[in-house]
């Protein structure tokens, strides 16, 4: 591949103010020059190619774009990228380590907590924030914590189970060993 060519973002017009921002994404320091109107979801998806953050509704309702902002779940489709300057963002790509899945990811797979998978990244990040604050949530607490994330496929029951699975695993429980599938 040629090293003489570097892909550059679309050129900004002279009258467009460009703002340099620096932030931490999934533990890595990143910098970008952005238009002030650029949404955080679009910076993550198009700028950093972290396409696991999905945009579903554009109105802060569906939660498919949920990321953790200094540990707090936010809907990145209605936040400007510049608001993330100096902050820490965690996206779905930052949940697993190179060698192992986060228990929430394992729980979603083991309990069939997803079908089309589009809402799943946001759902898992909301669940992560919940479990950090409340390691042993009740079913009602899980349902309430996830009520900002819409799913059209599953009917939520298996999502609730997936979060409980993860809670047990994180608490050192033995969830999942009783009826695990034949395949990892």
């Amino acid at each position: 591949m040629s090293t003489l060519f570097e892909e550059v973002p679309p050129s900004f017009g002279d009258d467009v103010p460009v703002r340099r921002l620096e932030l931490t994404v999934n533990g890595e320091r990143r910098a970008a020059d952005v238009e002030p109107r650029l949404l955080l979801a679009h910076l993550l998806r198009n700028g950093f190619r972290l396409t696991g953050t999905h945009t579903g509704c554009d109105t802060t309702n569906c939660g498919a774009c949920t990321v953790l902002y200094d540990g707090v779940p936010v809907k990145s489709c209605t936040m400007f990228a510049v608001q993330a300057d100096g902050h820490e963002i965690l996206t779905v790509e930052g949940l697993a380590t190179a060698s192992e899945l986060h228990p929430i990811q394992e729980g979603f797979k083991d309990e069939h907590g997803l079908q089309c998978g589009f809402c799943t990244p946001g759902m898992m990040l909301s669940a992560k924030a919940l479990l950090e604050e409340n390691p042993n949530p009740t079913e009602d607490e899980i349902r309430w914590a996830l009520s900002g994330n819409l799913c059209r496929c599953t009917g939520y029951q298996n999502i609730v189970k997936a979060v409980m699975w993860a809670a047990e695993k994180l608490g050192g429980g033995t969830a999942g060993s009783d009826e695990a599938g034949e395949e990892g």
Binding site: R45, G52, H112, Q115, R152, C153, Y156
Partner: protein
């Protein structure tokens, strides 16, 4: 030693899903995740008015914006004969409006730019001068003698009526009513609803200027139908078109039709000779793409005083919006509406149907539904509850008397379908036992004494899933078969492709299980691919719960073809005649000498290295499957509710679902489908509808107005199963994906009507919003949900 089928991920294994491995890592590949070098971005300008003549469109300011590469209007398309396109129901639909706009949200112009923000800026800069025309928002307005003509573009169209259609035995039904002891009647509106997958629609058209080949990445449930449509619309040779449907963020019927955005992105890519991406926003998706339902249903049932059903009359008035773009078999104008009452033993029935144009987005897609069966079964079960009340009979007993009995199959339904299997009474009994029917009735009576309103609703139904057969079912003349292609490589690993297209149903997991069941190749050794028309065999796609009944059957049939060839290879390897070969899962052995055998994997390598004389090398094949009949799953859904008489708010107490979908390939996935379906049923009964004001403004153009249930509102579900194998499906499976959406709504509505029984109310139109329920309780009359009509001052 035979293989353990569950261990290799065969039939009946709740195998964890293969596709999840990428989804849980955020590595799915949805349409908006695809970025091609040099790609431009397209945005659509939509009409703010429901009905208006276009006086002029000024695009000059849009062209002046740096980064805008192209602005397209209807006029430009008309010059290329592309301003209109055919629909899936033999009508035409405007790609970009030329003469007038016919619904709010209609596509008027498109801007292509370096990035999506600039494309939006371009749309903002376009000035359209509209002359408003009176809007029509429901069938009665559309049929008024002085109604403005919506489709004045069509020669010979002198009214707003799309079709008049009838089916059944009119005279026989008249005789049944003449001999009836009791006639029970009901009417209702099934509101317009949007399938609303969380991911909206989109496409990336990539016209390769070197090869003149067009590749379109597109959110479609039916890639091969789209390829044919693009060939016809764009007049491109079909072999130079490749449609790729990537991971879909849900479909539910919304991603079956051809939408203008796809077409314009293709044209733009051809004109600009670079990839053009169109990603629809949620509002555009909700106001312009395929709706479901929006139909007025009325009818009556002839009854004998002992509770036997004698006949049914039905009439439907359906609102199709501005273009008749229903995606349904071409023979049936109102889909499979006439599959209503198929689970009951009723001798005769007659249905009349009229469809009209209105100034609303084109509707009538099968939203998690096998072509209007959702409306059919809703009407059926609401009618059944009303008839039971008129007879003064217990609603469960009334069903029991009339349900088709196990020894009556095959059974001719009132409109002539042939159902072939089921254990209806058993499902009903299991449901009643699970909910504790008698106890609940006692509890309800006791609560009533204390001013509390409890109710129980039952819905029992069978529905026709899995079109075709090809004698009856086609879309635009293309027969509704499906296909599978299986390539077993020399190391025994396999590649399977089908003409279906998964959208969350888990085909990548379950199809491999069918191969494992048929061949003994472990499911994890089978890669499943779908959605790319250059590689997948021709198929009609995934909707109407047809994947397992049709494509799934093709997977079994192609596996059997492979097994038949492998058997010949086994005979060659074992040096015996083919008749002396026996099959057990994964292995052929010599009859009478079971120790002498070869595995399917050994046959696979021999197919490439040591085949018998005269045999074609390789272990690959395909199958096109044309089912002899639809599959007929049965379900019994029971809901209990408590209604607050002070507010009209109702809470679900319990939901019991008994489903008989025949043999379950992957029980975990089947249960997931049922729970998802129940949630959409609850949604439609409780909150989810799109309505319009008298000016034709869409009320429900975003998720703040179009309410979808969250984890908080959605009730828990108790699932039970009965298994009656489908007699004609190769592995005995029936469709399941839509059963709960189809049968579920009536259970919730029947429960609320049961709870407020003392008010003397027969019907409240969905959704059962608190104000509607409160008005019904306090005023004692039925509540219509029909949209308002503007009256002249």
């Amino acid at each position: 030693m035979a293989l353990d089928e569950i261990k290799i991920g065969g039939l009946g294994a709740s195998r964890r899903r293969v596709e999840d491995n990428r989804f849980i890592r955020g590595k799915g590949n949805y349409i908006d995740d695809i970025a091609l070098p040099g790609m431009l971005h397209m945005e659509i300008l939509r009409s703010p008015l429901a009905h208006a003549r276009i006086r002029s469109i000024d695009v000059s300011a849009a062209w002046a914006i740096p980064g805008v590469r192209m602005v397209l209007t209807g006029e430009m398309l008309a010059a290329r004969n592309l301003a209109w396109m055919p629909t899936l129901s033999y009508d035409t639909q405007a790609v970009l409006a030329t003469d007038k706009v016919r619904f709010q949200g209609q596509e008027v112009a498109c801007v292509v730019a370096d990035d999506p923000y600039i494309a939006k800026d371009g749309c903002e800069a376009i000035v359209v001068d509209y002359e408003p025309l009176p809007p029509i928002v429901n069938p009665s307005q559309a049929k008024a003698p002085d109604a403005p003509l919506i489709r004045d573009d069509k020669t010979g169209q002198d009214s707003n009526v799309v079709f008049d259609w009838e089916v059944g035995d009119r005279e026989g039904t008249d005789r049944a009513f003449a001999g009836a002891d009791v006639v029970s009647a009901i009417e209702m509106h099934y509101p317009r609803s949007h399938p609303s997958p969380i991911e909206a629609c989109g496409s990336i058209a990539d016209f390769n200027r070197a090869t003149s080949k067009l590749t379109v990445y597109m959110t479609t449930q039916a890639p091969h139908i789209i390829r044919a449509a693009v060939a016809l619309v764009a007049e491109l040779p079909e072999h130079m078109i490749r449609i790729v449907s990537p991971d879909l963020g849900g479909g539910f019927g919304n991603k079956v039709p051809v939408y203008p955005g796809y077409v314009v992105s293709i044209l733009a890519s051809i004109l600009l000779e670079c990839p053009v991406k169109w990603i629809e926003d949620k509002s555009g998706n909700l106001i312009s793409t395929g709706f479901g339902r929006d139909i007025y249903l009325k009818g009556e049932m002839a009854l004998r005083s002992d509770g036997r059903m004698l006949g049914v009359r039905m009439h439907t008035d359906s609102d199709h919006g501005a273009f008749f773009s229903d995606a349904q078999p071409s023979k049936f104008k109102i889909g499979l509406m006439h599959s209503a009452f198929s689970c009951y033993d009723i001798p005769t029935a007659h249905l009349t149907a009229q469809g009209v144009y209105t100034n609303k987005a084109p509707g009538g897609v099968a939203y998690r539904c096998s072509f209007r069966v959702t409306e059919a079964m809703y009407f059926q079960e609401r009618m059944v509850q009303a008839a039971a009340a008129d007879l003064g009979m217990d609603q469960a007993e009334f069903r029991r008397i009339n349900l088709v009995r196990d020894d009556d199959f095959p059974h001719r339904t009132p409109w002539g379908f042939l159902t072939d299997s089921g254990q209806y009474q058993k499902c009903l009994d299991l449901g009643l036992e699970a909910i504790g029917y008698e106890d609940f009735l006692a509890q309800k009576e006791e609560a009533r004494q204390r001013g509390r309103l409890l109710g129980i609703g039952i819905s029992t139904m069978t529905e026709p899933l899995g079109a075709g057969n090809s004698r009856e079912y086609d879309i635009l003349g293309i027969k509704m078969f499906d296909s599978a292609e299986l390539k077993v490589h020399m190391t025994g690993k396999a590649l399977l492709r089908t003409g279906a297209k998964t959208q969350g149903q888990g085909h990548e997991t379950t199809w491999a299980q069918i191969v494992a069941h048929e061949l003994g190749i472990p499911a994890e050794d089978v890669l499943v691919e779908e959605g790319d028309t250059d590689t997948a065999p021709f198929g009609m796609g995934t909707y109407a719960s047809r994947s397992t009944p049709v494509a799934g059957a093709a997977v079994a049939m192609v596996s059997r073809k492979i097994r038949a060839k492998a058997r010949k290879i086994a005979a060659h390897l074992l040096e015996v005649s083919e008749e002396d070969i026996e099959w057990e899962l994964g292995r052929f052995s010599v009859r009478g000498a079971p120790d002498r055998g070869v595995t399917i994997q050994e046959c696979a390598i021999a197919a490439y290295s040591n085949m018998p004389d005269g045999m074609e090398p390789g272990l690959e094949n395909n199958a096109y499957y044309d089912p002899p009949n639809l599959t007929w799953p049965f379900a019994c859904y029971i809901a209990t509710v408590e209604v607050d008489p002070e507010t009209g708010v109702w809470d679900v107490l319990r939901v019991v679902a008994v489903d008989d979908c025949g043999v379950r390939i992957n029980p975990m996935i089947v249960e997931g489908q049922i729970m998802g379906g129940l949630t959409e049923a609850y949604a439609m009964a409780n909150m989810q509808f799109i309505t319009f004001d008298e000016d034709g403004n869409c009320i429900g153009s975003n998720y703040m107005d179009y309410l979808l249930p969250t984890a908080w509102e959605t009730p828990g579900f108790e699932l039970h199963e009965v298994v009656t194998p489908c007699p004609h499906h190769p592995i005995g499976a029936k469709g399941i994906g839509e059963c709960a959406t189809v049968g579920g709504p009536a259970a919730f509505v029947n429960a609320v009507i049961d709870a407020i029984g003392d008010a003397g109310v027969r019907n409240i139109d969905m959704p059962l919003l608190p104000d509607r329920v409160y008005e019904a309780i306090t005023q004692g009359h039925d509540i219509s949900g029909a949209p308002p009509v503007k009256t002249e001052p």
